[in-house]
């Protein structure tokens, strides 16, 4: 892992940072002036207009921004910039070789991406792609498009760019790009499909080789890794792959509630888990790509904690379980009954005796049932296959 200062590593794309800032302003955690300043600095008028059109901005913020934004100046600057870049392309075509043309095309595309003009940027990127031969450079362009899509929440663009990137990578991408792409994939499935388990798998695989700082800084990467793992993975994995990873150890101190929660799971300190969970959720709420899954994450972590506690017990009193978690017996009763009814926990509550009985079917019959289920599904698929082949 590099020990160089951030001067050597690329910073996250400015349009990604803009999107984050917009999100923070929406939550009231950043002043509107900072947003206006950023938009003016990047000339990102299209970004702003698209965000407004997509309904991502409250009326109050909108009016305040429109008042202070020097719209005409920005439009003027953008027009000039655009003209200059297009001229450069024409000039390159006339006087220079292919690689200069390509560079000029990429420069224009990057500019359009930076101001958040998705349509134009994609078109410009297409032109750049036509001029690009090397697989590595093609993949870089796809990755840039994914970043743009993630910033503008245009998931159709992201999906398309991802499948194209995947093709090229499978055909012959180098390891570095392969690793970077895995991180991009992880972030996409995490935010767009709520597949935290799949995201966690990919993020953990990329833990030792993270270089995608143009997408997010290391600290945020670790944040996602730990949160997704806590919500979906079991204790052995948490203990061996997450809690012991040097990368995690380095960063996690920046997120104290997260550190406590992780430690709680590893050391079976259920009180710590209860106490730190609100802090963790607050961090989740503040993240642009995770906040929509806050409830889900809250639920999953709670279920995981209860399940882990109950693994060792055939029966346990409501009182002692409540004490272990530092909550009242009534509250615990409600929680458990909700999860039991949803078949997330295998237990039964004997309210009269104040005892929880776990009802875990023994492994043998569980496996037997699973064989039957899987075998059935397989038979169906074979039938479908026979229909397809029977031409």
């Amino acid at each position: 892992m590099s020990e160089t200062a951030s001067a050597a590593e690329p910073q996250p794309d400015s349009v990604l940072q803009l999107a984050d800032r917009l999100f923070q302003v929406g939550r009231g955690e950043a002043p509107v002036e900072s947003l206006v300043a950023a938009v003016e600095h990047d000339g990102a008028l299209p970004f702003w207009e698209a965000s407004v059109a997509a309904g991502r901005v409250s009326a109050a913020v909108q009016s305040e921004v429109w008042e202070t934004l020097s719209r005409d100046a920005i439009e003027q600057r953008n027009r000039e910039e655009r003209r200059a870049l297009t001229e450069k392309i024409a000039d390159a075509r006339l006087h220079h070789g292919e690689s200069e043309v390509r560079e000029a095309l990429v420069a224009r595309s990057e500019y359009l991406a930076r101001i958040g003009d998705v349509e134009q940027a994609v078109r410009s990127y297409e032109a750049a792609l036509r001029a690009t031969v090397g697989a590595g450079q093609r993949i870089d362009i796809y990755l840039a498009q994914i970043r743009l899509g993630l910033a503008m929440q245009d998931y159709r663009l992201v999906r398309r760019a991802m499948s194209l990137a995947r093709e090229h990578i499978e055909r012959g991408g180098d390891w570095e790009r392969r690793n970077r792409f895995r991180v991009y994939e992880a972030v996409f499935v995490m935010t767009a499909r709520r597949d935290l388990s799949g995201a966690a798998d990919r993020l953990l695989d990329s833990l030792a080789t993270f270089t995608a700082t143009e997408l997010m800084p290391l600290s945020r990467f670790i944040f996602y890794t730990v949160v997704c793992s806590l919500a979906t993975k079991e204790r052995p994995l948490l203990r061996d792959r997450v809690a012991k990873a040097p990368e995690v150890l380095q960063v996690i101190l920046q997120y104290p509630p997260l550190a406590t929660c992780l430690r709680g799971f590893v050391n079976c300190a259920y009180l710590d888990i209860s106490r730190s969970l609100p802090g963790v959720l607050m961090l989740v709420r503040r993240d642009r790509l995770l906040h929509m899954h806050e409830r889900y994450i809250a639920r999953e972590i709670r279920v995981a904690a209860y399940a882990q506690y109950l693994v060792a017990y055939k029966s346990v009193t409501l009182a002692s379980m409540a004490a272990a978690f530092g909550v009242g017996a009534e509250f615990l009763d409600e929680e458990l009954s909700r999860f039991i009814a949803a078949e997330r926990l295998h237990a039964k509550i004997d309210r009269v005796a104040g005892v929880i009985q776990t009802t875990r079917s023994d492994t043998r019959s569980a496996r037997y049932h699973q064989i039957i289920r899987d075998g059935d599904a397989l038979l169906n698929r074979i039938q479908k296959l026979s229909r397809v082949i029977d031409v």
Binding site: E3, P246, Q250, A312, K314, R367, Y368, L378, R381, I389
Partner: protein, 426 residues
């Protein structure tokens, strides 16, 4: 205005008074420093040297008296008075002052702020040499204050600079420091990497024994972390010998650690032999007593004894982070072993029975059992309603089921690929 000779006399007087009448000595030193510089080159040099001696005298005096705040002020004086004339000397004085400050009790925060101030001043005045050394000291202060993030930041920046300058002695120091910081952060791979780098640097220069001892000690610590107690023992022994010959106080710590290593690999007789040997006799004291008591407790396999020893000798055992981590493991391992041995012959037993046998509270026993079950070391389940622990017998090998599942999964994959091929055919 005092003449040359009178000043020299003052100095001699002050030096001799330093032990007996510190207040008087202090006054003399101070007056020496406060007198304005005389004109003329020759007398300037002599006067300069005298002031130097006065400064060192004051520093030593105040260090012994623990007057940290005065020392901090003195640093300002030093910078003002000596900077223009003798830069190297000024640098040396500041460093001596910092060392002296380190000897003052509970002066950590003062040290940190002074270092930060000096670093800032060095940046302004472009005193790279001094700044780097003060920064190294600052980083180690941060480390001792557990401000790991800041320590790491300073160290990383320093490393880049010093590598370029090819100043191997300083580089070695900083790399060793880096290894310690990473170890404190539990980042073993990077701690090891830093130590290897330090060793490489050390191989190219002459390493004074004290520094070599530190390298060996750190190597021992890291090997112990990886549970390689044999190698750790030999490193600690090396370091111990080096320090013992120098009569350095760090020998004691290394003795403690090497005894601990013997304990961790359960070579108690060898441990006792070491304790009775000539070597340890020289170092009688709390540390050695603690280790002896630990060995005894371990022999008896008694968790209680162990806990008692840990409590009575808290200052030398629990307060020492290196020992504490390993002792926790020892305690846990002993607890586990005793627990499992008690449970062994039973298929079902009361938790209270276990608690009685182990002489521990029921809650602790229960918590430990549930953790063991979760870790898979105990094949059973707790029935808290009945207050008992039920042990499952050996499960018959369930190959048939797992094989069947595997087969079904493989067939699934075959079907998937057939689907793909079929779609390409069309």
């Amino acid at each position: 205005m005092t003449t040359d000779t009178s000043r020299t006399l003052q100095l001699e007087e002050a030096n001799s008074l330093a032990e007996k009448d510190p207040t008087q000595a202090e006054q003399l030193y101070r007056s020496l420093l406060n007198t304005p510089m005389p004109e003329g080159d020759e007398s300037t040099e002599a006067a300069q040297r005298e002031r130097e001696v006065a400064v060192y005298g004051l520093v030593e005096l105040w260090a012994r008296q623990g007057r940290a705040a005065d020392l901090v002020q003195l640093s300002q004086v030093i910078r003002e008075q000596f900077d223009r004339v003798a830069k190297a000397k000024m640098a040396k004085m500041i460093r001596t002052l910092l060392d002296a400050l380190g000897r003052c009790p509970s002066s950590d925060q003062l040290q940190v702020s002074l270092c930060e101030e000096v670093v800032q001043w060095c940046r302004e005045e472009k005193r790279t040499f001094l700044r780097q050394r003060v920064e190294a000291r600052l980083a180690s202060l941060y480390l001792s204050q557990k401000r790991y993030g800041e320590a790491l930041a300073v160290t990383n920046a320093l490393l880049q600079e010093v590598k370029r300058l090819d100043d191997r002695a300083l580089l070695l120091e900083v790399q060793l420091l880096e290894s310690r910081i990473h170890h404190a952060l539990q980042n073993l791979p990077r701690a090891r990497a830093a130590l290897t780098a330090a060793r490489t640097t050390a191989s190219a220069i002459y390493v004074p024994p004290a520094l070599q001892g530190e390298i060996d000690m750190q190597a021992g610590v890291l090997h112990a972390e990886e549970r390689d107690y044999k190698t750790a023992f030999s490193y600690f022994y090396e370091a111990f010998e080096v320090y013992a010959t120098m009569d350095d106080e760090r020998a004691l710590a290394n003795l403690k650690y090497l005894l601990m290593c013997k304990l961790m690999i359960e070579q108690v007789p060898e441990l006792t032999a070491l304790l009775q040997g000539r070597v340890a006799l020289k170092y009688q004291g709390r540390e050695v007593d603690a280790m002896r008591a630990l060995a005894a407790a371990y022999e008896k396999r008694s968790v209680h004894e162990l806990q008692r020893v840990l409590d009575t000798h808290r200052d030398v055992l629990t307060e020492d982070p290196v020992i504490q981590a390993h002792l926790e493991d020892l305690y846990g391992a002993l607890l586990e072993r005793n627990l499992l041995r008690i449970i062994e012959p039973y298929s079902r037993l009361q938790l209270t029975h276990i608690a009685e046998r182990m002489d521990l509270p029921v809650e602790q026993v229960e918590a430990k059992c549930s953790q063991l079950i979760l870790d898979g070391k105990l094949n059973g389940i707790l029935d808290q309603g009945a207050g008992s622990l039920i042990l499952h017998g050996e499960e018959p090998a369930d190959d048939l089921c797992s094989d069947a599942l595997q087969t079904v999964q493989s067939l699934n994959e075959v079907v998937s690929s057939l689907f793909e091929k079929a779609s390409t055919l069309r």
